[in-house]
């Protein structure tokens, strides 16, 4: 009897609900919807309440720079990435939070982020996985969301050493929207993001002077003519040029004296040379090995200077050219007396006297010019 009464009550309730619900002719088998309860918003989808693209404001502060590896063209750093955007679906009454926002940190922030939409902004030039990472998430009553990430890792930083040692480098961190294209999510910055994007005053990098952080918007090209929003935060650092003088410039400029010595040491007596050419050529060959050894040493220590045009590679080139000139003078003038054979001993004598002052002036002038060009 109890079972029969329950069945009748259920049938009565169903009949009542069917009578109150609007007719749904295409879905007669569907269960009746709960009365007047709208479906919960899908918070993990792109917020469209403020239209597209969703503007994500970005700032990046440099907390620490552990070091710059020029040969690897990378730097190890800890950075704070701040992203903020507006998601009106997350609004709530301000009275609910006396401190003015809701906050989650660490795993709680990760769990909260899984329940809501957030822009997938990656650090495009981060090499490998971050060595440390932590997050903080704040949601304000007006729907503003602020996501703060502290990331430590190694970042790729292409270095331009053409004006070494007077170069200024940009230690870049690239923020790229990895999921949504630029017509859906765009990255931007305003005054407070610029103020956030600065190096910690305590940052010190050996051999470098720390400058300011520069933010640049550079969209990244994608497939089918699409693009992805990208902001590059670049910390400008100036090389302390004076610190490179003892290790690099003193030996490079000193080695320039070797070919000059091999030219100077001879003497001309009315067009006749007094020292055998092979003795002087030995000096040149010794100098050649010395420069090769120096070249190998510097290239091993600073491989970035080995490729491309820069002051060091040009000074090495000048060394080789000076050695080649000295060798040519030794062989043609001192050994085979080419000038005498062509124009007589008087011209040879004057040619020698000209060479012993003009060659040092030309080489010193060229070396100075190469350094000044780098400094310009």
């Amino acid at each position: 009897m109890r079972w029969l009464a329950a069945l009748m009550l259920a049938l009565l309730a169903a009949a009542t609900a069917q009578a109150q619900a609007p007719a749904v002719p295409l879905a007669p088998a569907a269960p009746p919807a709960p009365a007047a309860a709208p479906p919960p918003p899908v918070l993990t989808q792109l917020p469209l309440d403020s239209g597209l693209p969703v503007v994500v404001r970005a700032g990046l502060g440099f907390v620490d720079i552990e070091g710059v590896d020029e040969n690897e063209e990378a730097f190890a750093a800890t950075v704070d990435v701040r992203l903020s955007w507006i998601d009106l679906r997350l609004r709530y009454p301000a009275e609910e939070t006396p401190i003015g926002y809701r906050e989650w940190r660490g795993d709680e922030a990760t769990a909260q982020l899984a329940r809501m939409w957030s822009p997938q902004i990656g650090l495009a030039n981060l090499r490998g996985e971050p060595t440390r990472q932590s997050r903080s998430l704040r949601v304000y009553p007006d729907g503003r969301v602020e996501l703060l990430r502290r990331v430590a890792g190694s970042f790729a930083a292409p270095l331009d050493v053409r004006s070494f040692p007077f170069d200024r480098q940009a230690l870049r961190v690239e923020l790229v929207s990895e999921r949504e294209t630029a017509d859906k999510v765009t990255l931007d910055y305003r005054q407070d993001d610029l103020l956030f994007s600065r190096p910690d005053p305590g940052i010190a990098i050996g051999g470098w002077t720390v400058g300011a952080v520069n933010l640049v918007r550079e969209p990244l090209a994608g497939w089918y003519g699409e693009s992805y929003a990208r902001i590059t935060a670049a910390l400008e650092v100036d090389r302390r040029a004076i610190e490179t003088v003892p290790a690099l410039f003193v030996p490079l400029l000193a080695s320039l004296l070797i070919p000059l010595l091999a030219t100077w040491l001879n003497r001309s007596n009315n067009g006749e040379f007094e020292i055998e050419a092979f003795e002087l050529t030995n000096i040149i060959i010794g100098g050649l090995f010395a420069v090769i050894a120096l070249n190998f040493t510097i290239n091993s220590d600073r491989s970035i200077l080995a490729s491309g045009l820069n002051t060091i590679s040009l000074l090495f080139a000048l060394n080789y050219v000076a050695l080649a000139l000295a060798l040519a003078i030794n062989v043609s003038l001192y050994r085979f007396n080419v000038v005498r054979a062509v124009a007589g001993r008087h011209v040879q004598h004057e040619t020698f006297r000209f060479i012993i002052w003009a060659l040092p002036v030309a080489i010193a002038g060229t070396a100075l010019a190469l350094i000044l060009i780098a400094a310009a």
Binding site: D188, L194, R345, H346, E350, F354, A362, A376
Partner: protein, 376 residues
Amino acid sequence: MRFRRSAPRALIVVAALVIAVLTFAANRLFGGMTSAVEQSQVELMRSIIAFNLEGAAANALARAEMTASDPLVRELLARQDRAGLLAHTQAMFNEQRDKYGVDQAQFHLAPATSFLRLQSPALFGDDLSRFRPIVVAVNRERVARKGVALARTGPGVFGVAPIRDMAGNHVGSVEFGMDFGALLDRLKAAYGLELTLFIDEAPLRAYANGMPPGAITEQNRLGTTVRLHSTNWTLMRDLVNADDLRVHDEPRDWVRDAGGVPYGVVLYPLRSGSGEVLGAIAVARSFAPTRGAAGRTDVLQWLFALLGFLVLAGAAVIVIRGWLVRPLEAITGRFATIGDGERPEPDPDDRFLAEEMKALAAEHERLAELVEAKRT
């Protein structure tokens, strides 16, 4: 005077002078080209500011005119229903502020009384006729206007449109003000410029008493102006000083170094609709590329001049001494031996003598033979 020294010296001095003058002229020429390029950059910076201020004003006016044509807005303002107007326009204003840098929106009652500030709804009822000439003009002439102005809540780029009730009677006006900060930040993002907004302190203190506290501080004061926004104050404080801002009623420009980098700076005055100077925008752009290229060109020109001088000097010395002076000295020495009873050995290098020298050597031979024949 010895020909051996004075002749080459004269030629070398002339060659050095000619090369120095030519190099200096070439340097001046390239310097002029660099200046022309930099001047075009300065003009471009000025045009960018003027064009974007004009664009911001047009955008503000477009928003004002659209709002002024909204029938509900006209009706609510005509009824002086402040709460209704706020409810109708608040969401629109919030979105415009968050996405498009709209900083201020205000409704006025004729002739110039603030009726509702959407950015500060609690502030209303004040008379604007003393410091808002555009609002007065719009309500007097009933024609839309735009321009830079200093409002109670700060400076902005404004567009003001008259509002009529549904019967066509003028009831007031509406204005939209674009935020200078957002405008300057966008210019930095788009053009890589650094910008700072300076507003004269006296009108700011007199009129803008609704600004957030902390805007007018000793830290932000520079001369007679107050810095209200900067995209990079660390840099700009080295480029603009109080003396530069003492007079800012006309556009000015200069080049100044900051952190070892030359920057071109343009000071663009801001005038209200009535022509009163309100302040200035300082715009800076790095001139390092042009200055660096000019410096490198200078160094290369002087290096080439040095090498050219060495070649000319060498040619002069070798030709005069090697082909003329030394052979002449040798033949003179032979003449000195005539009558000594010793005839010098024939010089095999005499075959390289010039024809004139050969004739002289032959004359010596002839005289020596004559003297010897007389002796025997």
